[in-house]
């Protein structure tokens, strides 16, 4: 998993819960990297899982909720770092529909070893979209957070429903309905 995810995650934890929480997480999670992350490095996904697990336990917040919050924060990173990519779109549905064909292609160019989920388009109208999420990471709520922020970015809002196709969350259907 890309280092920027870890650094941004720990930064968010530090913002929300203080440096103590960051220290506690690192102390309690058995991390191969010992919590030493740099945005340009690459680290084990299991480390993220441990961090999330411990944060959830330490704060009493569900992992899904944590991921959603982290995603909303992370969207700000994207807005800052890659504004051109977002400017290429005028509509949130269009942008979400082109995750697979455009955005992930661009991501692969920058991070050639990135392991990305797939978003298969099942249905699409001008204001609705049904996507099938597939990833061994089961980080569907990270996606949900990014999607919410996407609508917000275009001054729009949407109701997004999730339906787990597989219980472990590795396959999830997203029903996205843009709100007028």
């Amino acid at each position: 998993m890309k280092g920027i995810i870890f650094t941004e995650f720990l930064e968010l934890v530090e913002d929300k819960y203080g440096l103590e929480m960051v220290d506690t997480l690192i102390q309690h999670s058995k991390l191969q990297s010992k919590g030493v992350y740099t945005s340009i490095g690459t680290y084990q996904f299991s480390e993220m899982l441990s961090l999330l697990q411990n944060l959830s336990e330490g704060t009493g917040t569900s992992i899904d909720r944590l991921l959603e919050t982290f995603a909303e924060h992370f969207f700000g990173v994207i807005e800052r770092t890659y504004p051109d990519m977002l400017n290429a779109y005028k509509d949130p549905i269009e942008m979400l529909a082109s995750i697979e064909n455009h955005i992930h292609v661009e991501v692969k160019k920058i991070y050639e070893d990135a392991e990305l989920p797939t978003f298969e388009i099942l249905e699409k109208t001008s204001d609705s979209l049904v996507l099938l999420y597939k990833s061994s990471r089961a980080m569907h709520h990270f996606g949900l957070g990014l999607m919410n922020k996407t609508f917000a970015h275009f001054n729009s809002s949407a109701s997004i429903l999730l339906e787990k196709i597989k219980e472990d969350g590795t396959e999830v259907k997203f029903f996205i309905q843009k709100e007028a």
Binding site: L19, E20, V22, D23, I26, K34, V36, T38, I40, G41
Partner: protein, 658 residues
């Protein structure tokens, strides 16, 4: 700050440091990777530059190519041109600026400019044809292939083009088209029916005549594209041998070999000549070309000519005359069987040989060449030649020659007809010899008769004289019996003399038409009456007026005189009468001399005309008179016969041609 907080911060600091170091390490690694990439890039650049250099040198290759090569800028000004281009256009950019548009005629400028814009926009211009005027004012048609030239940043900098002079090509294409249209017109109006099929047997071209010949009710243009696979079966009913026609076509189509001059007989009596030409292009089969021509008339002519020829050939082969044809060098070109038999040489031995050297010797050759030169002047001639046959036999040939002309009326030799007249010649010579001999013999005989009669008469006269002398000298001495004997001797002597005179007369009767003249028989009879001794009791009566006759007066006198004498001698009645009469017939006169004498028995009627045949012992009868009569009548191609009643009289009839 409590120690707990310090520991947390220290740990965080340691982590940050470690993270920085790791980041640095990663960055260094990235930098190294970047350096390697840069190196690689610079190598690629070098390679690229080399490629560009090659491209440029290829441009120089263009300069030396055979076709005209021109590089122009965006204004159409020539930046570069090769020798071919200078030769084509007549302008040289090294001497004065050359603008492409200046070469184009005013009215063509817009089109040219459009093409140039297309070239700039699309980078390529293919097979663009335009008319230009070279410096010397010649109009040329050129075909242009052009492309843009770019700098290293792919910015177009100029246009390059190859111009090919296709003026000649265009002209030959035009000529091709016009010759094609001429050919089509020619085929359309051809007197032969033409059918051209492609390899699928679909009609490509046919003409009016073809439709006429096969009574096809549509026009030739409507026939194009029709399938001919079944045409033979559909049209076979036209032909005398329908199955054979279909089979023949199938065979030809299968073989795809040239078949010329086939004749096809139609049921309606027409005869066609068919030519088949398979069409191949580069050994690849392209189709069938059929040509039909109605040759009914020609065939009939030809057949009758053939029959005539056969007839005359038969005549020539079978005629008994030798036929020989020679060329102007006297080389034998043709002969018939008879000539071969005449000459003793076979046909093979004669053809191509010189006739005169084979057959002629010495002066005969000169005669021959003289006659031949006459023929060369176009004259007909006929002459005799002494020739030598193969067996060395000398023969005489009568040759009738005529000059032989070719179709252009030029003498190409002569034809001679040869008749072997050796036998005839011999006969003629024999006849001449015989005639000569006969003449001499006749003369001799006449002379002999004269001599004989003269010589015989003189001893007779001597005997007569001696007998008279004996009678004179012994007058009164001889008794009556002796005197009677003397008288008998005298009578016998007289008879003997008459006999001799008769023979002389008889032998001198020879036809001589030179002495013929118109003889009035009335006058002739008057004269005869005067000179002939008529006893008193005998009278002559000419019953009708006698005609005039063409003949020898002496012979005619002999004829009548002998008949009159014969009548007088045999009259035993007291009053004798001799009647002469004539009856005119269409082509002859029938004369009669009638007496009332003793008459002649039937059995003697033929005998009396023979010489020395006398029925009585009358003193004056020599038995020659009627022989002379018969001989003269024969001479004048008449007939003589008699009617007689013994004791009553005799009538002699004879005819003389008018």
């Amino acid at each position: 700050m409590n120690s707990e907080k310090i520991a947390i911060l220290q740990r965080a600091l340691t982590r940050e440091k470690a993270a920085r170091k790791e980041a640095e390490k990663i960055l260094e690694k990235k930098a190294a990777e970047l350096y390697a990439l840069t190196q690689e890039l610079s190598e690629t650049n070098t390679r690229l530059e080399k490629t560009i250099q090659q491209k440029i040198s290829q441009l120089q290759v263009f300069e030396s190519i055979v076709d005209a090569y021109v590089v122009v800028d965006f204004n159409g000004e020539v930046l570069k041109m090769n020798e071919s281009a200078i030769a084509l256009l007549g302008y040289d950019f090294r001497k004065a600026p050359v603008f492409l548009l200046d070469l184009v005629e005013e009215r063509m400028r817009e089109r040219t400019q459009n093409a140039f814009s297309t070239l700039i926009k699309e980078g390529l211009l293919k097979n663009f044809q335009m008319e230009i005027f070279s410096k010397d004012g010649q109009q040329k048609i050129v075909q242009i292939n052009a492309s843009m030239l770019y700098d290293e940043n792919q910015v177009p900098i100029a246009a390059q083009g190859i111009a090919r002079d296709i003026t000649q090509q265009q002209a030959s294409e035009d000529r091709l088209i016009s010759s094609e249209s001429r050919l089509t017109t020619l085929i359309t109006n051809l007197d032969s029916g033409v059918l051209l099929e492609d390899e699928q047997r679909k009609i490509v071209l046919t003409n009016k005549k073809f439709c006429e010949l096969f009574s096809i009710p549509v026009s030739p243009t409507e026939m194009v594209g029709l399938d001919c696979s079944n045409a033979a079966a559909q049209n076979k009913h036209f032909f005398e041998d329908p199955a054979g026609f279909v089979k023949g076509i199938d065979k030809i189509i299968r073989k795809r070999k040239l078949v010329l001059g086939e004749t096809l007989a139609f049921k309606d009596g027409r005869i066609f000549r068919r030519d088949y030409i398979p069409i191949f292009k580069d050994k690849e089969f392209q189709g069938n070309l059929w040509s039909y021509k109605d040759i009914t008339l020609e065939t009939k002519y030809q057949q009758s000519i053939e029959a005539e020829k056969q007839k005359y050939s038969n005549i020539i082969a079978n005629m008994k005359l030798g036929l020989l044809e020679v060329d102007n060098d006297e080389k034998i070109a043709m002969l018939n069987q008879s000539f071969s038999e005449m000459s003793g040489y076979s046909e093979e031995e004669l053809i191509g040989k010189t006739a005169s050297t084979l057959f002629l010797e010495g002066e005969q050759s000169e005669v021959n060449s003289k006659e031949r030169s006459k023929r060369n002047q176009g004259l007909f001639n006929s002459y005799e030649l002494q020739v030598k046959t193969k067996q060395g036999e000398s023969r005489c040939w009568l040759i009738s020659g005529a000059p032989n002309y070719n179709l252009n009326g030029k003498v190409i030799g002569s034809i001679g007809i040869h008749l072997d007249i050796t036998e005839m010649k011999t006969l003629e010579v024999q006849k001449e010899v015989l005639l000569k001999k006969l003449k001499t013999r006749n003369a001799e005989l006449q002379e002999y008769a004269h001599i004989v009669s003269h010589d015989l008469k003189s001893p007779l006269r001597s005997i007569n004289a001696l007998v008279n002398w004996l009678k004179e000298d012994n007058k009164g001495v001889f008794d009556a019996s002796s005197l009677r004997n003397f008288s008998l001797i005298e009578n016998t002597l007289e008879k003997m003399e008459n006999l001799i005179s008769g023979i002389l007369n008889y032998s001198s009767i020879i036809e001589n038409t030179k002495k013929h003249q118109q003889v009035d028989l009335n006058i002739l009879l008057e004269e005869l009456k005067a000179i002939t001794y008529f006893p008193a009791h005998i009278s002559l009566k000419v019953t009708n007026k006698l005609p005039k006759i063409s003949g020898d007066p002496i012979r005619l006198q002999q004829l009548f005189q002998n008949l009159l004498n014969n009548a007088i001698q045999h009259i035993d009645k007291e009053k004798g009468l001799v009647e002469v009469d004539v009856v005119e017939h269409l082509s002859y006169y029938q004369f009669s001399v009638k007496d009332n004498g003793i008459g002649i028995e039937k059995k003697y009627h033929n005998k009396i005309f023979k010489i020395f045949q006398s029925l009585n012992t009358h003193n004056e009868s020599t038995g020659i008179g009627l022989s002379i009569v018969k001989k003269i009548v024969d001479l004048y191609k008449g007939e003589i016969w008699l009617e007689s009643d013994v004791g009553v009289g005799t009538t002699f009839y004879f005819t003389l041609i008018k």
